[in-house]
């Protein structure tokens, strides 16, 4: 294409500052991305537990005790909610990230992929709970 002349043109570039507040979709995206922080935070909690375990029984028990505090329980509930939200929005975006999947010659719909992801999560969680319950009872 022939490059444009300048003439009296003065193309106006709009600022991007505060872009994510301008559209509810972007606000939700930022919350979704922000909820990843809680995922990282819980990983940190578990890592601390591992560290305490390596420091002996007393340290481990102290960590376990700390988890029972009302503040910790409230924190865990918050973490759980954030992680559920993160998982849900993550599965919602998942169809966009996958190559087309064909089942019996028909392309799997986006909602089916999301539902599949949620179902797999529920299934994995139930199995994990059962295993833990078996081991601890």
């Amino acid at each position: 294409m022939k490059p444009r002349a300048i003439g009296k043109r003065r193309p106006y570039v709009r600022p991007m500052a505060g872009w994510w507040r301008k559209n509810p979709y972007f606000v939700e995206y930022m919350i979704h991305e922000g909820s990843a922080f809680f995922v990282a935070a819980y990983a940190l909690v578990l890592l601390v537990g591992l560290l305490r375990l390596s420091q002996g029984e007393a340290a481990w028990n102290g960590w376990l005790f700390a988890l029972h505090s009302p503040l910790s329980i409230a924190g865990h509930l918050l973490l759980l909610a954030a992680m559920l939200y993160h998982a849900w929005t993550w599965f919602n975006i998942m169809p966009i990230t996958l190559p087309p999947i064909f089942v019996a010659g028909k392309r799997l719909s986006a909602s089916a992929i999301t539902a599949g992801g949620v179902a797999a999560t529920v299934l994995a969680s139930v199995i994990l709970l059962l295993v833990v319950w078996r081991l601890t009872s």
Partner: protein, 271 residues
């Protein structure tokens, strides 16, 4: 001589403006580079009927209220891709967005986000065109074939793999929906990636290797953070976000295969 009925009965033509009772406020972001230092909003009261599109509202403004309002349009049926603009902050084709959906509160129309404004609702789209020209958007035959040999065979299933991505009308709504493009306009962006993917997936094409260079590059797919809004606003179900993200996988595959099968492989890793 009997005159055709349609000439006697004028009711059928668009109602005269006096017959229209409803009006709707349309706020338009104006920018006339020869007189405005920055864009300013201007409100017009536009008479309308329920089946009128936002585009028809703008045409009314241009025809009767202010001839200096500039915007692109042509086909009126969502296939030429000219009339993309922000309607209440959402990237939309104005020809298939309807005024009645905004009545009585009114609506605000701005030029497509993330592009420089040339004037009023007209954006500078040179960047998009240059990117399109950079991806070799044509068949690079896998097996050259003479015209006398007839068409390449391609089953409906093989066609389905790329057809969706070939439906892109270049309206650029997906760019206006992509904050990563807004923040860094060097990013190749969703629409162009859809077209690149369209050719890479075509059973007749053998040029994927050449096009993957761009996919891997600094300006390539890894600028995408999977916001997903591009696919949401696409008026043609192209799902450009899918093209971008599939190519993240392809790019990663290429990267690792480069170690496993260096040079001479057919994986696209050779360079």
């Amino acid at each position: 001589m009997v005159l055709p009925a349609r000439r006697q009965n004028r009711k059928e033509s668009r109602p005269a403006m006096s017959e229209i009772e409803k009006t709707i406020p349309i706020e338009v972001l104006r920018y006339r580079p020869e007189q405005d230092t920055e864009p300013v909003l201007q409100t017009f009261q536009v008479p309308f009927t329920d089946d009128m599109s936002v585009l028809q509202g703008l045409q009314y403004i241009k025809d009767y209220l202010d001839g200096s309002l500039s915007f692109r349009w042509s086909c009126r049926m969502a296939i030429c891709g000219s009339c993309g603009m922000m309607v209440n902050g959402i990237p939309s084709l104005s020809c298939k967005t309807f005024l009645s959906d905004y009545y009585p509160a009114g609506l605000r129309i701005e030029a497509l986000a993330h592009f420089p404004i040339e004037r009023d609702l007209v954006i500078v789209m040179d960047d998009f065109i240059e990117k399109l020209e950079s991806i070799k958007p044509y068949i690079i035959p896998k097996t050259p074939r003479a015209l006398s040999e007839g068409e390449y065979l391609q089953t409906p299933a093989e066609r389905d793999v790329y057809e969706q991505f070939s439906s892109c009308i270049n309206c650029m709504l997906c760019y206006a929906a992509c904050p990563q493009y807004g923040l860094n306009s060097k990013f190749v962006g969703p629409g162009i990636m859809a077209l690149l993917h369209r050719y890479n997936m075509d059973s007749r094409d053998g040029g994927a290797e050449q096009r993957m260079e761009l996919v891997h590059s600094e300006d390539g797919v890894f600028n995408c953070t999977a916001v997903g809004y591009c696919s949401e606003v696409c008026p043609k179900h192209v799902d450009p976000g899918n093209a971008v993200n599939i190519n993240k996988t392809e790019s990663a595959k290429d990267y690792f295969l480069r170690f496993v099968m260096p040079k001479g492989s057919n994986s696209g890793a050779a360079k």
